[in-house]
Protein backbone atom coordinates (compact mmCIF):
# COMPACT_ATOMS: atom_id res chain seq x y z
CA UNK A 1 0.00 0.00 0.00
CA UNK A 2 2.75 2.38 0.99
CA UNK A 3 4.68 1.60 -2.18
CA UNK A 4 1.58 2.20 -4.29
CA UNK A 5 1.04 5.56 -2.62
CA UNK A 6 4.63 6.50 -3.29
CA UNK A 7 4.47 5.54 -6.95
CA UNK A 8 1.31 7.56 -7.44
CA UNK A 9 2.86 10.49 -5.66
CA UNK A 10 5.94 10.36 -7.86
CA UNK A 11 3.83 10.03 -10.99
CA UNK A 12 1.80 13.09 -10.08
CA UNK A 13 4.97 15.02 -9.38
CA UNK A 14 6.34 13.98 -12.75
CA UNK A 15 3.19 15.20 -14.53
CA UNK A 16 3.41 18.51 -12.71
CA UNK A 17 7.07 18.96 -13.52
CA UNK A 18 6.59 18.15 -17.21
CA UNK A 19 4.55 21.27 -17.82
CA UNK A 20 7.07 23.40 -15.98
CA UNK A 21 9.98 21.77 -17.81
CA UNK A 22 8.35 22.31 -21.17
CA UNK A 23 7.85 26.01 -20.41
CA UNK A 24 11.44 26.36 -19.28
CA UNK A 25 12.57 24.46 -22.38
CA UNK A 26 10.64 26.74 -24.69
CA UNK A 27 12.12 29.81 -23.07
CA UNK A 28 15.62 28.33 -23.31
CA UNK A 29 15.28 27.51 -27.00
CA UNK A 30 13.89 30.96 -27.68
CA UNK A 31 16.68 32.60 -25.73
CA UNK A 32 19.41 30.54 -27.37
CA UNK A 33 18.47 31.32 -30.94
CA UNK A 34 17.67 34.90 -30.03
CA UNK A 35 21.16 35.17 -28.57
CA UNK A 36 22.62 33.91 -31.84
CA UNK A 37 20.41 36.32 -33.73
CA UNK A 38 21.86 39.23 -31.83
CA UNK A 39 25.41 38.04 -32.66
CA UNK A 40 24.63 39.02 -36.25
CA UNK A 41 22.18 41.89 -35.82
CA UNK A 42 22.79 44.72 -33.41
CA UNK A 43 20.15 45.26 -30.75
CA UNK A 44 20.02 48.95 -31.61
CA UNK A 45 19.12 48.13 -35.22
CA UNK A 46 16.49 45.69 -33.98
CA UNK A 47 14.83 48.48 -32.01
CA UNK A 48 15.39 51.46 -34.32
CA UNK A 49 15.39 50.13 -37.89
CA UNK A 50 12.23 51.16 -39.72
CA UNK A 51 12.08 48.06 -41.94
CA UNK A 52 11.63 44.38 -41.32
CA UNK A 53 12.78 42.49 -44.41
CA UNK A 54 14.60 39.30 -43.38
CA UNK A 55 13.49 37.49 -46.55
CA UNK A 56 14.85 40.13 -48.96
CA UNK A 57 18.33 40.57 -50.29
CA UNK A 58 18.59 43.89 -48.51
CA UNK A 59 17.92 42.58 -45.03
CA UNK A 60 16.52 44.82 -42.30
CA UNK A 61 15.55 43.71 -38.86
CA UNK A 62 13.52 46.53 -37.33
CA UNK A 63 10.96 44.86 -35.09
CA UNK A 64 9.09 48.17 -34.98
CA UNK A 65 7.22 47.38 -38.19
CA UNK A 66 5.88 44.12 -36.78
CA UNK A 67 5.11 45.72 -33.43
CA UNK A 68 3.20 48.49 -35.19
CA UNK A 69 1.08 45.88 -36.97
CA UNK A 70 0.44 43.98 -33.76
CA UNK A 71 -0.31 47.18 -31.89
CA UNK A 72 -2.69 48.40 -34.58
CA UNK A 73 -4.79 45.23 -34.82
CA UNK A 74 -4.84 44.85 -31.04
CA UNK A 75 -5.98 48.41 -30.43
CA UNK A 76 -8.77 48.06 -32.98
CA UNK A 77 -9.85 44.73 -31.49
CA UNK A 78 -9.82 46.03 -27.93
CA UNK A 79 -11.58 49.18 -29.06
CA UNK A 80 -14.41 47.00 -30.30
CA UNK A 81 -14.43 44.50 -27.47
CA UNK A 82 -14.24 46.74 -24.40
CA UNK A 83 -17.38 48.82 -24.97
CA UNK A 84 -19.42 45.91 -26.29
CA UNK A 85 -18.10 43.40 -23.75
CA UNK A 86 -18.64 45.70 -20.79
CA UNK A 87 -22.11 46.71 -21.93
CA UNK A 88 -23.04 43.06 -22.18
CA UNK A 89 -21.61 42.34 -18.72
CA UNK A 90 -23.48 45.25 -17.13
CA UNK A 91 -26.72 44.38 -18.89
CA UNK A 92 -26.56 40.72 -17.92
CA UNK A 93 -25.62 41.53 -14.37
CA UNK A 94 -27.90 44.40 -13.53
CA UNK A 95 -30.85 44.31 -15.88
CA UNK A 96 -31.37 40.92 -17.53
CA UNK A 97 -33.84 38.43 -16.02
CA UNK A 98 -32.06 35.58 -14.25
CA UNK A 99 -33.12 32.89 -16.70
CA UNK A 100 -31.97 34.96 -19.67
CA UNK A 101 -28.55 35.45 -18.10
CA UNK A 102 -28.16 31.73 -17.59
CA UNK A 103 -28.94 30.97 -21.22
CA UNK A 104 -27.14 33.83 -22.92
CA UNK A 105 -23.79 33.47 -21.18
CA UNK A 106 -22.82 30.08 -22.65
CA UNK A 107 -24.10 31.29 -26.02
CA UNK A 108 -21.79 34.29 -25.84
CA UNK A 109 -18.84 32.15 -24.90
CA UNK A 110 -19.39 30.28 -28.14
CA UNK A 111 -17.93 33.33 -29.87
CA UNK A 112 -14.57 32.40 -28.42
CA UNK A 113 -15.02 28.81 -29.55
CA UNK A 114 -15.36 29.59 -33.26
CA UNK A 115 -12.14 28.43 -34.96
CA UNK A 116 -10.02 31.50 -35.65
CA UNK A 117 -9.47 30.42 -39.24
CA UNK A 118 -13.20 30.89 -39.76
CA UNK A 119 -12.95 34.40 -38.35
CA UNK A 120 -10.00 35.13 -40.62
CA UNK A 121 -11.91 33.95 -43.64
CA UNK A 122 -14.93 35.98 -42.55
CA UNK A 123 -12.79 39.10 -42.24
CA UNK A 124 -11.24 38.61 -45.68
CA UNK A 125 -14.32 37.65 -47.64
CA UNK A 126 -17.11 39.52 -45.88
CA UNK A 127 -15.84 42.40 -43.78
CA UNK A 128 -13.19 43.75 -46.17
CA UNK A 129 -15.53 43.83 -49.23
CA UNK A 130 -18.16 45.47 -47.02
CA UNK A 131 -15.71 48.14 -45.84
CA UNK A 132 -14.56 48.70 -49.43
CA UNK A 133 -17.98 50.08 -50.27
CA UNK A 134 -17.36 52.98 -47.90
CA UNK A 135 -13.65 53.58 -47.66
CA UNK A 136 -10.56 53.18 -49.77
CA UNK A 137 -8.92 50.18 -48.22
CA UNK A 138 -6.31 47.56 -49.17
CA UNK A 139 -7.57 44.03 -49.82
CA UNK A 140 -5.50 42.95 -46.86
CA UNK A 141 -5.78 45.46 -44.05
CA UNK A 142 -5.46 45.91 -40.32
CA UNK A 143 -8.96 47.30 -39.91
CA UNK A 144 -11.08 44.31 -40.85
CA UNK A 145 -8.72 41.89 -39.09
CA UNK A 146 -8.88 44.06 -35.97
CA UNK A 147 -12.67 44.39 -36.08
CA UNK A 148 -13.22 40.67 -36.40
CA UNK A 149 -10.64 39.93 -33.75
CA UNK A 150 -12.56 42.34 -31.52
CA UNK A 151 -15.69 40.24 -31.95
CA UNK A 152 -13.71 37.15 -31.09
CA UNK A 153 -12.46 38.54 -27.78
CA UNK A 154 -15.81 39.99 -26.65
CA UNK A 155 -16.58 36.95 -24.51
CA UNK A 156 -13.24 37.24 -22.71
CA UNK A 157 -14.33 40.64 -21.48
CA UNK A 158 -18.07 40.10 -21.08
CA UNK A 159 -17.81 36.75 -19.36
CA UNK A 160 -14.99 37.47 -16.92
CA UNK A 161 -16.31 40.94 -16.15
CA UNK A 162 -19.75 39.55 -15.50
CA UNK A 163 -18.29 36.98 -13.13
CA UNK A 164 -16.54 39.80 -11.30
CA UNK A 165 -19.73 41.88 -11.12
CA UNK A 166 -21.66 38.83 -9.96
CA UNK A 167 -19.15 38.29 -7.15
CA UNK A 168 -19.87 41.72 -5.68
CA UNK A 169 -21.75 40.99 -2.45
CA UNK A 170 -25.50 41.45 -2.64
CA UNK A 171 -25.33 43.54 0.53
CA UNK A 172 -23.41 46.27 -1.32
CA UNK A 173 -26.00 46.43 -4.04
CA UNK A 174 -28.76 46.64 -1.43
CA UNK A 175 -26.90 49.40 0.35
CA UNK A 176 -26.88 51.37 -2.89
CA UNK A 177 -30.55 50.75 -3.63
CA UNK A 178 -31.30 51.70 -0.04
CA UNK A 179 -29.64 55.06 -0.68
CA UNK A 180 -31.97 55.63 -3.60
CA UNK A 181 -29.71 54.81 -6.55
CA UNK A 182 -31.18 53.80 -9.87
CA UNK A 183 -30.03 50.55 -11.43
CA UNK A 184 -27.62 52.38 -13.70
CA UNK A 185 -26.18 54.37 -10.81
CA UNK A 186 -25.84 51.16 -8.80
CA UNK A 187 -23.84 49.66 -11.64
CA UNK A 188 -21.57 52.64 -12.25
CA UNK A 189 -21.08 53.92 -8.70
CA UNK A 190 -21.00 50.69 -6.74
CA UNK A 191 -20.76 47.36 -8.52
CA UNK A 192 -18.32 48.35 -11.27
CA UNK A 193 -15.88 50.08 -8.89
CA UNK A 194 -16.13 47.12 -6.51
CA UNK A 195 -15.46 44.70 -9.38
CA UNK A 196 -12.88 46.90 -11.08
CA UNK A 197 -9.93 44.61 -10.52
CA UNK A 198 -11.79 41.69 -12.10
CA UNK A 199 -12.81 43.89 -15.00
CA UNK A 200 -9.23 45.06 -15.55
CA UNK A 201 -8.06 41.45 -15.49
CA UNK A 202 -10.62 40.59 -18.17
CA UNK A 203 -9.39 43.43 -20.36
CA UNK A 204 -5.74 42.43 -19.95
CA UNK A 205 -6.51 38.83 -20.82
CA UNK A 206 -8.37 40.02 -23.90
CA UNK A 207 -5.42 42.20 -24.94
CA UNK A 208 -3.07 39.30 -24.36
CA UNK A 209 -5.28 37.09 -26.51
CA UNK A 210 -5.41 39.71 -29.26
CA UNK A 211 -1.64 40.17 -29.31
CA UNK A 212 -1.10 36.44 -29.63
CA UNK A 213 -3.88 35.87 -32.19
CA UNK A 214 -2.43 34.52 -35.41
CA UNK A 215 -4.86 33.12 -37.93
CA UNK A 216 -7.15 36.11 -38.33
CA UNK A 217 -4.29 38.55 -38.94
CA UNK A 218 -2.33 36.13 -41.10
CA UNK A 219 -5.32 35.72 -43.40
CA UNK A 220 -6.94 39.13 -43.39
CA UNK A 221 -4.28 41.70 -42.50
CA UNK A 222 -1.64 40.66 -44.99
CA UNK A 223 2.05 39.91 -44.68
CA UNK A 224 3.76 43.14 -45.44
CA UNK A 225 5.59 44.56 -42.42
CA UNK A 226 4.89 48.28 -42.50
CA UNK A 227 5.74 50.88 -39.94
CA UNK A 228 2.34 52.54 -39.99
CA UNK A 229 -0.66 53.31 -37.82
CA UNK A 230 -3.01 53.57 -40.81
CA UNK A 231 -5.60 50.80 -40.38
CA UNK A 232 -6.47 50.70 -44.08
CA UNK A 233 -3.00 49.52 -45.07
CA UNK A 234 -1.63 46.04 -45.46
CA UNK A 235 0.51 45.17 -42.46
CA UNK A 236 2.10 42.20 -40.74
CA UNK A 237 2.00 41.32 -37.08
CA UNK A 238 4.62 39.40 -35.15
CA UNK A 239 2.45 36.32 -35.31
CA UNK A 240 1.67 36.55 -39.00
CA UNK A 241 5.38 36.98 -39.78
CA UNK A 242 6.12 33.80 -37.87
CA UNK A 243 3.42 31.95 -39.81
CA UNK A 244 4.80 33.25 -43.09
CA UNK A 245 8.35 32.14 -42.35
CA UNK A 246 7.56 28.78 -40.79
CA UNK A 247 5.29 27.79 -43.67
CA UNK A 248 7.97 28.76 -46.22
CA UNK A 249 11.25 26.92 -46.71
CA UNK A 250 13.79 28.68 -44.55
CA UNK A 251 17.16 27.13 -44.05
CA UNK A 252 17.83 25.97 -40.51
CA UNK A 253 20.43 28.16 -38.83
CA UNK A 254 20.13 31.00 -41.32
CA UNK A 255 19.57 34.55 -40.17
CA UNK A 256 15.95 34.41 -41.43
CA UNK A 257 15.46 31.36 -39.24
CA UNK A 258 16.97 33.10 -36.24
CA UNK A 259 14.85 36.20 -36.77
CA UNK A 260 11.83 33.99 -36.02
CA UNK A 261 13.06 33.49 -32.51
CA UNK A 262 13.79 37.15 -31.96
CA UNK A 263 10.23 37.94 -33.07
CA UNK A 264 8.91 35.06 -30.99
CA UNK A 265 10.57 36.18 -27.80
CA UNK A 266 9.32 39.73 -28.30
CA UNK A 267 5.80 38.35 -28.50
CA UNK A 268 6.41 36.13 -25.52
CA UNK A 269 7.69 39.04 -23.45
CA UNK A 270 4.54 41.04 -24.09
CA UNK A 271 2.05 38.28 -23.31
CA UNK A 272 4.11 37.13 -20.34
CA UNK A 273 4.11 40.65 -18.94
CA UNK A 274 0.36 41.08 -19.45
CA UNK A 275 -0.46 37.74 -17.86
CA UNK A 276 1.68 38.61 -14.87
CA UNK A 277 0.00 41.95 -14.44
CA UNK A 278 -3.40 40.27 -14.51
CA UNK A 279 -2.21 37.64 -12.03
CA UNK A 280 -0.96 40.37 -9.73
CA UNK A 281 -4.26 42.26 -9.91
CA UNK A 282 -6.23 39.09 -9.36
CA UNK A 283 -4.27 38.31 -6.23
CA UNK A 284 -4.86 41.75 -4.80
CA UNK A 285 -8.53 41.48 -5.63
CA UNK A 286 -8.97 38.14 -3.89
CA UNK A 287 -7.55 39.61 -0.71
CA UNK A 288 -10.23 42.23 -0.69
CA UNK A 289 -13.14 39.83 -0.38
CA UNK A 290 -11.60 37.37 2.08
Amino acid sequence: MKVKEMIIEKLLFLCASISVLITVGIILVLLLDTFEFFQEVSFVDFITDKKWTPMFKDKHFGIGSLLAGTFLTTVIAVGVAIPIGLSIAIYLNEFAPKGFRKRIKPALELLAAVPTIVYGFFALTVVTPFLKQFIDIDSFNALSAGLVMGIMIIPYISSISEDALYAVPKSLREAAYGMGTTRLQTAFKVTIPAASSGIIVSIILAISRAIGETMIVAIAAGQKPTLTLDPTETIATITSFIVQVTTGDVEHGSIEYKSLFAAGITLFLFTFMLNNISYFIKKKYQEKYD
Partner: protein, 254 residues
Protein backbone atom coordinates in the same frame (compact mmCIF):
# COMPACT_ATOMS: atom_id res chain seq x y z
CA UNK B 1 -48.52 61.59 23.34
CA UNK B 2 -51.41 60.33 21.30
CA UNK B 3 -51.64 63.57 19.32
CA UNK B 4 -48.41 62.67 17.46
CA UNK B 5 -48.76 62.71 13.71
CA UNK B 6 -49.12 59.41 11.84
CA UNK B 7 -46.01 59.01 9.67
CA UNK B 8 -46.72 55.66 8.14
CA UNK B 9 -49.92 53.80 7.54
CA UNK B 10 -50.55 50.36 6.08
CA UNK B 11 -54.01 49.27 5.07
CA UNK B 12 -54.99 45.68 4.18
CA UNK B 13 -51.52 44.81 2.99
CA UNK B 14 -51.00 41.37 1.48
CA UNK B 15 -47.62 40.32 0.10
CA UNK B 16 -46.99 37.37 -2.16
CA UNK B 17 -43.86 35.68 -3.41
CA UNK B 18 -45.27 33.73 -6.33
CA UNK B 19 -47.89 31.44 -4.74
CA UNK B 20 -46.65 31.96 -1.21
CA UNK B 21 -48.40 34.58 0.88
CA UNK B 22 -45.79 36.14 3.15
CA UNK B 23 -47.94 38.91 4.63
CA UNK B 24 -51.62 38.54 5.43
CA UNK B 25 -53.89 41.55 5.62
CA UNK B 26 -51.84 43.85 7.79
CA UNK B 27 -53.09 47.18 9.10
CA UNK B 28 -50.68 49.39 10.98
CA UNK B 29 -50.17 53.00 11.96
CA UNK B 30 -46.75 54.23 12.98
CA UNK B 31 -46.33 57.56 14.74
CA UNK B 32 -43.81 60.21 13.89
CA UNK B 33 -40.67 60.42 16.04
CA UNK B 34 -41.16 57.04 17.60
CA UNK B 35 -39.26 53.76 17.60
CA UNK B 36 -41.35 50.80 16.54
CA UNK B 37 -40.01 47.29 16.99
CA UNK B 38 -41.07 44.35 14.83
CA UNK B 39 -40.66 41.05 16.65
CA UNK B 40 -41.60 37.48 15.88
CA UNK B 41 -40.05 34.12 15.03
CA UNK B 42 -37.97 33.62 11.86
CA UNK B 43 -40.07 33.58 8.72
CA UNK B 44 -42.96 35.43 10.36
CA UNK B 45 -42.91 38.17 7.75
CA UNK B 46 -41.45 40.99 9.85
CA UNK B 47 -38.46 41.54 7.55
CA UNK B 48 -40.65 41.28 4.47
CA UNK B 49 -42.98 43.87 5.87
CA UNK B 50 -40.06 46.15 6.73
CA UNK B 51 -38.65 45.87 3.20
CA UNK B 52 -42.06 46.60 1.74
CA UNK B 53 -41.92 50.02 3.39
CA UNK B 54 -39.18 51.29 1.05
CA UNK B 55 -39.99 48.92 -1.80
CA UNK B 56 -36.75 46.99 -1.46
CA UNK B 57 -38.59 43.88 -2.62
CA UNK B 58 -39.51 45.36 -5.99
CA UNK B 59 -36.77 43.47 -7.81
CA UNK B 60 -37.52 40.14 -6.12
CA UNK B 61 -38.98 37.76 -8.67
CA UNK B 62 -42.60 36.88 -8.08
CA UNK B 63 -43.16 39.71 -5.60
CA UNK B 64 -46.65 41.13 -5.51
CA UNK B 65 -48.39 43.47 -3.11
CA UNK B 66 -52.04 44.22 -2.45
CA UNK B 67 -53.37 46.97 -0.25
CA UNK B 68 -52.06 50.41 0.45
CA UNK B 69 -49.09 51.92 2.23
CA UNK B 70 -48.93 55.61 2.90
CA UNK B 71 -45.81 57.33 4.16
CA UNK B 72 -45.88 61.01 5.01
CA UNK B 73 -49.18 61.28 3.16
CA UNK B 74 -47.93 59.66 -0.03
CA UNK B 75 -49.22 56.31 -1.32
CA UNK B 76 -45.86 54.67 -2.02
CA UNK B 77 -47.00 51.90 -4.35
CA UNK B 78 -48.63 54.29 -6.79
CA UNK B 79 -47.24 54.16 -10.29
CA UNK B 80 -46.30 57.83 -10.20
CA UNK B 81 -44.02 57.34 -7.19
CA UNK B 82 -40.35 57.18 -8.09
CA UNK B 83 -38.88 54.40 -6.05
CA UNK B 84 -35.49 56.15 -5.89
CA UNK B 85 -37.15 59.25 -4.40
CA UNK B 86 -39.02 57.09 -1.90
CA UNK B 87 -35.80 55.48 -0.69
CA UNK B 88 -34.27 58.86 -0.02
CA UNK B 89 -37.26 59.57 2.18
CA UNK B 90 -37.21 56.11 3.78
CA UNK B 91 -33.64 55.08 4.53
CA UNK B 92 -32.49 51.62 5.44
CA UNK B 93 -29.86 50.03 7.65
CA UNK B 94 -29.10 46.37 7.11
CA UNK B 95 -28.33 43.35 9.23
CA UNK B 96 -24.69 43.13 8.27
CA UNK B 97 -22.75 46.38 8.11
CA UNK B 98 -22.34 47.06 4.40
CA UNK B 99 -20.22 50.15 3.84
CA UNK B 100 -19.08 50.76 0.27
CA UNK B 101 -15.43 49.95 -0.42
CA UNK B 102 -14.73 53.68 -0.44
CA UNK B 103 -13.35 56.12 2.09
CA UNK B 104 -15.26 56.97 5.24
CA UNK B 105 -15.99 60.42 3.85
CA UNK B 106 -17.20 59.12 0.48
CA UNK B 107 -19.49 56.63 2.17
CA UNK B 108 -21.37 59.34 4.01
CA UNK B 109 -21.32 61.69 1.02
CA UNK B 110 -22.59 58.96 -1.32
CA UNK B 111 -26.31 59.70 -1.05
CA UNK B 112 -25.80 63.42 -1.59
CA UNK B 113 -23.58 62.91 -4.62
CA UNK B 114 -26.13 60.50 -6.09
CA UNK B 115 -28.68 63.29 -5.85
CA UNK B 116 -26.37 65.43 -7.96
CA UNK B 117 -25.34 67.78 -5.16
CA UNK B 118 -21.92 69.26 -5.93
CA UNK B 119 -21.62 72.01 -3.31
CA UNK B 120 -18.53 70.79 -1.46
CA UNK B 121 -19.03 72.90 1.65
CA UNK B 122 -22.61 71.67 1.94
CA UNK B 123 -21.59 68.05 1.56
CA UNK B 124 -18.79 68.41 4.07
CA UNK B 125 -21.11 69.95 6.62
CA UNK B 126 -23.62 67.13 6.18
CA UNK B 127 -20.90 64.49 6.44
CA UNK B 128 -19.56 65.98 9.68
CA UNK B 129 -23.03 66.38 11.16
CA UNK B 130 -24.04 62.85 10.26
CA UNK B 131 -20.89 61.39 11.76
CA UNK B 132 -21.46 63.44 14.91
CA UNK B 133 -25.05 62.24 15.16
CA UNK B 134 -23.91 58.62 15.26
CA UNK B 135 -21.12 59.45 17.72
CA UNK B 136 -18.48 58.36 15.27
CA UNK B 137 -16.94 61.74 14.58
CA UNK B 138 -14.40 61.70 17.40
CA UNK B 139 -13.23 58.24 16.39
CA UNK B 140 -12.74 58.95 12.69
CA UNK B 141 -12.22 62.69 12.27
CA UNK B 142 -8.50 62.24 11.58
CA UNK B 143 -8.94 59.44 9.07
CA UNK B 144 -11.82 60.44 6.86
CA UNK B 145 -9.89 59.44 3.76
CA UNK B 146 -9.25 55.95 5.07
CA UNK B 147 -11.20 53.02 3.70
CA UNK B 148 -14.42 52.34 5.55
CA UNK B 149 -13.57 48.64 5.46
CA UNK B 150 -10.76 49.27 7.94
CA UNK B 151 -13.26 50.19 10.68
CA UNK B 152 -14.54 47.69 13.24
CA UNK B 153 -17.95 46.07 12.72
CA UNK B 154 -19.63 48.36 15.22
CA UNK B 155 -18.06 51.44 13.69
CA UNK B 156 -19.05 50.24 10.22
CA UNK B 157 -22.66 49.90 11.29
CA UNK B 158 -22.67 53.39 12.78
CA UNK B 159 -21.12 54.62 9.54
CA UNK B 160 -23.96 52.96 7.63
CA UNK B 161 -26.45 54.77 9.86
CA UNK B 162 -24.58 58.05 9.26
CA UNK B 163 -24.72 57.39 5.53
CA UNK B 164 -28.49 57.06 5.80
CA UNK B 165 -28.83 60.20 7.94
CA UNK B 166 -26.83 62.29 5.49
CA UNK B 167 -29.74 62.46 3.03
CA UNK B 168 -32.11 63.41 5.88
CA UNK B 169 -34.86 60.84 5.44
CA UNK B 170 -38.02 61.00 7.53
CA UNK B 171 -38.15 57.28 8.24
CA UNK B 172 -35.26 54.90 8.96
CA UNK B 173 -35.82 51.18 8.61
CA UNK B 174 -33.42 48.92 10.47
CA UNK B 175 -33.27 45.22 9.73
CA UNK B 176 -31.70 43.59 12.79
CA UNK B 177 -28.99 46.25 12.83
CA UNK B 178 -27.10 44.84 15.81
CA UNK B 179 -27.35 41.10 15.24
CA UNK B 180 -23.81 40.95 13.81
CA UNK B 181 -22.30 43.18 16.51
CA UNK B 182 -20.74 42.71 19.93
CA UNK B 183 -22.62 43.84 23.08
CA UNK B 184 -20.71 47.11 23.45
CA UNK B 185 -21.34 48.16 19.84
CA UNK B 186 -24.93 47.06 20.28
CA UNK B 187 -25.49 49.26 23.31
CA UNK B 188 -23.93 52.20 21.47
CA UNK B 189 -26.41 51.79 18.65
CA UNK B 190 -29.28 51.40 21.08
CA UNK B 191 -28.30 54.66 22.78
CA UNK B 192 -28.19 56.22 19.37
CA UNK B 193 -31.80 55.24 18.68
CA UNK B 194 -32.97 57.30 21.65
CA UNK B 195 -31.25 60.33 20.17
CA UNK B 196 -32.31 59.71 16.59
CA UNK B 197 -36.01 59.39 17.27
CA UNK B 198 -36.11 63.06 18.16
CA UNK B 199 -35.65 63.78 14.48
CA UNK B 200 -36.62 60.58 12.70
CA UNK B 201 -39.24 57.88 12.73
CA UNK B 202 -37.56 54.53 13.28
CA UNK B 203 -38.75 51.02 12.56
CA UNK B 204 -36.50 48.24 13.78
CA UNK B 205 -36.72 44.49 13.23
CA UNK B 206 -35.11 42.57 16.04
CA UNK B 207 -34.75 39.02 17.25
CA UNK B 208 -33.66 40.26 20.61
CA UNK B 209 -36.66 40.82 22.85
CA UNK B 210 -34.73 42.71 25.49
CA UNK B 211 -33.62 45.03 22.74
CA UNK B 212 -37.19 45.60 21.62
CA UNK B 213 -38.17 46.30 25.22
CA UNK B 214 -35.24 48.67 25.73
CA UNK B 215 -35.42 50.79 22.61
CA UNK B 216 -38.95 50.89 21.30
CA UNK B 217 -42.07 52.86 22.09
CA UNK B 218 -44.37 50.49 20.23
CA UNK B 219 -43.96 46.84 19.41
CA UNK B 220 -45.56 44.75 16.68
CA UNK B 221 -45.66 41.00 17.04
CA UNK B 222 -45.79 39.07 13.77
CA UNK B 223 -46.59 35.41 13.42
CA UNK B 224 -47.00 33.41 10.20
CA UNK B 225 -47.42 36.52 8.11
CA UNK B 226 -50.06 38.04 10.37
CA UNK B 227 -49.83 40.97 12.69
CA UNK B 228 -50.95 39.35 15.94
CA UNK B 229 -50.62 42.32 18.22
CA UNK B 230 -49.48 45.92 17.94
CA UNK B 231 -49.40 48.13 20.98
CA UNK B 232 -47.28 50.16 23.38
CA UNK B 233 -44.10 48.27 24.14
CA UNK B 234 -44.81 48.37 27.88
CA UNK B 235 -48.14 46.74 27.33
CA UNK B 236 -46.81 44.05 24.96
CA UNK B 237 -44.13 43.00 27.38
CA UNK B 238 -46.06 43.24 30.64
CA UNK B 239 -49.64 42.54 29.75
CA UNK B 240 -50.16 41.33 26.16
CA UNK B 241 -53.74 40.81 25.10
CA UNK B 242 -53.07 37.83 22.85
CA UNK B 243 -52.01 34.44 24.10
CA UNK B 244 -49.62 33.93 21.18
CA UNK B 245 -47.77 37.13 22.02
CA UNK B 246 -47.41 36.06 25.62
CA UNK B 247 -46.16 32.63 24.63
CA UNK B 248 -43.59 34.15 22.34
CA UNK B 249 -42.20 36.81 24.67
CA UNK B 250 -42.03 34.40 27.56
CA UNK B 251 -39.97 32.12 25.36
CA UNK B 252 -42.43 29.29 24.97
CA UNK B 253 -41.80 29.14 21.21
CA UNK B 254 -39.82 30.90 18.53
Amino acid sequence: MSEKKIMLEARNVDVFYGEFQAIKNIDMKIKENSVTAFIGPSGCGKSTFLRVLNRMNDYVEGFALRGEIEINGEKIYRKSVKVEELRKEVGMVFQKPNPFPKSIYDNVAFGLKIQGITDKAFIEERVINSLKQVALWDEVKDQLKKSALALSGGQQQRLCIARTLAVEPSVILMDEPTSALDPISTSKIEELLHELKKKYTIVIVTHNMQQAARVSDDTAFFYMGELIEFDKTDKIFTNPSMEKTENYITGRFG
